[in-house]
């Protein structure tokens, strides 16, 4: 100790202490720093957000505002989450072509990679529902019978008993759900696009959403069996009655007329 304290005023003492301190900091950092993979993820995520911001500035900011704060032409995107972007852009509803009662489905304008970047940027504006995992919207994992009950309680009033869609007020409509990717139906339930109410996991848990998707898959795809034949839009008595009255009774009248006309005579007059 004596030797050490004797040299503490040596001109190189400060340098030695500095070297020790640096080695200790470096060692501690090496031992405690987050894993390298996570680091890469974080930078990929921030890269996606950056790229998404560029896409956003070009394609979305004119209506939704420079920072997603919304404006007179479009709602705020703070807190809508990645799922809303994936739904709106992934089904072609956004970017909007023209103002109207409701954004119609159109050909998709962005690639899935670009949509993911946009979603990452919008998700960074505020916490909101994330894009669901493929395992959470797999129709084959759900119970179609339970899903039918849930569908009739929560969805039928707008989307019809088998998801054929229906009219709303002032030119709005609940779209038909046949052949819609279950992922987008799931996202619509979570985010509540346009005038559709949302069904968050707190009131309609993930399992039950999957049951609903199973029900739609069972009744509403082009492969779903339809034992009775023509569904006539699935509207029930209205379209069925119209069909019976026009075609059925029309046919009967035609046959009755045929029975009543006089038979061909031997000689034309």
């Amino acid at each position: 100790m004596k030797k050490l304290s004797a040299r503490r005023r040596h001109p190189l003492a400060a340098l030695v202490v500095l070297l020790f301190a640096l080695a200790a900091t470096g060692g501690l950092y090496a031992a405690l720093a987050p894993a390298g993979e996570a680091q890469a993820d974080a930078s990929a995520q921030s890269l996606a957000i950056e790229e998404g911001k560029k896409l956003y500035d070009v394609g979305c900011s004119s209506c939704h505002g420079a920072g997603g704060e919304g404006g007179s032409d479009g709602p705020s995107l703070v807190g809508v989450g990645a799922a809303a972007v994936d739904f709106q852009v992934g089904t072609g509803r956004m970017p909007l072509q023209a103002p109207g009662p409701q954004a119609p489905e159109k050909p998709v304008a962005y690639t899935q990679a670009e949509i993911d970047q946009l979603a990452a940027y919008v998700a960074s504006l505020g916490p909101g529902p994330a894009v669901p995992d493929a395992s959470s919207y797999d129709p084959s994992q759900g119970d179609a019978a339970r899903g039918g009950e849930l569908f009739r309680t929560n969805c039928t009033q707008c989307h019809n008993f088998t998801g054929q869609g229906g009219a709303l007020t002032h030119g709005k409509e609940a779209p038909a759900l046949d052949n819609v990717d279950p992922r987008y139906i799931y996202e619509a339930m979570v985010t509540g696009p346009s005038n559709m109410p949302s069904f968050p996991d707190t009131t309609l848990p993930e399992d039950e959403k999957q049951d609903i998707l199973a029900w739609l898959h069972a009744v509403n795809t082009s492969e779903s069996p339809n034992p009775g034949g023509f569904s006539l839009g699935g509207f029930g008595p209205v379209s069925e009655g119209l069909f019976a009255w026009t075609f059925g009774i029309g046919l009967l009248i035609a046959v009755a007329v045929w029975i009543g006309v006089s038979t061909a005579k031997a000689r034309k007059s």
């Binding site: 009131t203 069996p225 034992p227 034949g229 029975i259």
Partner: protein
Amino acid sequence: MSSHTEHTEARDDAQGGHLTESREGGAVAVADDPFADPGLPPHEPRRQDVDERAAKRSERTVAFLFTLSMLATVGFIVSYVAIPIDEIVFIWPFGHVSGLNFALGLTLGVALFCIGAGAIHWARTLMSDVEVAEERHAIEATPEVKAHVLEEFRKGGEESQIGRRKLVRNTMFGALALVPLSGVVLLRDLGPLPGTKLRHTAWKEGSLIINEATMQPLRPEDITVGSLTQAMPEGLDPHSEDFNVEIAKAAVMLVRLEPEDIKDERSADWGYEGILCYSKICTHIGCPATLYEQQTHHALCPCHQSTFDLADGARVLFGPAGHPLPQLRIRANDEGFLEALGDFDEPTGPSFWERG
């Protein structure tokens, strides 16, 4: 051929004669009725009447139709036995249909249609088609028959002694008059009157609000702005006998609005932090009026488009409904669950005469 020509000529003659006669003088024209019944046109034979080969052809057609019907009936029985009940086949343009349904419908349809078509073809081409006029007879009976019937009636009355034995007659009248009363008494089974049942629901003070999707009590934080939740009071068992009776009055929906969006102060007061709990039974004829547009805060009834503004105490904006949807007063209890403060303030569901 010749008969037709002759007939036309004859008619031309008659017409020519009529015209000349009427020109000659009015007296003759009265005798010649200008609206005279022309009678039936002369009978014309069909090809089958004059051509035996055509008749044979008709016979074969009819027989073919009847045979087809027989084959279709056999086909019906075969498909009933052979096709499994759950087999789904693709048939254009019907889609993925039940093979059994399709085969049964098609074969039975063909079998019945061919019987009818065969019979009609038979009647039209082979059975006699000579027109026959049958004169109507008078509806009135002859005076002799009338007199006879009246005489018989009088004699019957005399022999039954109904005029003489007044006791028999009067008791018979009494019995006949009382019998219908038993039917009148049965009308009571249309009742009993509902009493105050329509004014009360299963909601009580402190009833937890059960989410219909999960059957768990709801917490305020479960319900986000823009969401829609279907709910019912605690204590209702979906498998119990009176579940449908109770849920038909007690079913509610919960929405959450931003507090500044709520226009009706009482409505905001009756909710909890912007969560409003309304009866979802339409006040028109009781469909579930849960077609909720989350941006406009309007709830519509899918049956007749009655529109309620949930931001304004469920005021009726449009449609046949006569009353706003009743609102349930709610609060959060000590454990953080939503609960009712009591029953609805007014009757839920369709309006009725004594509702007030």
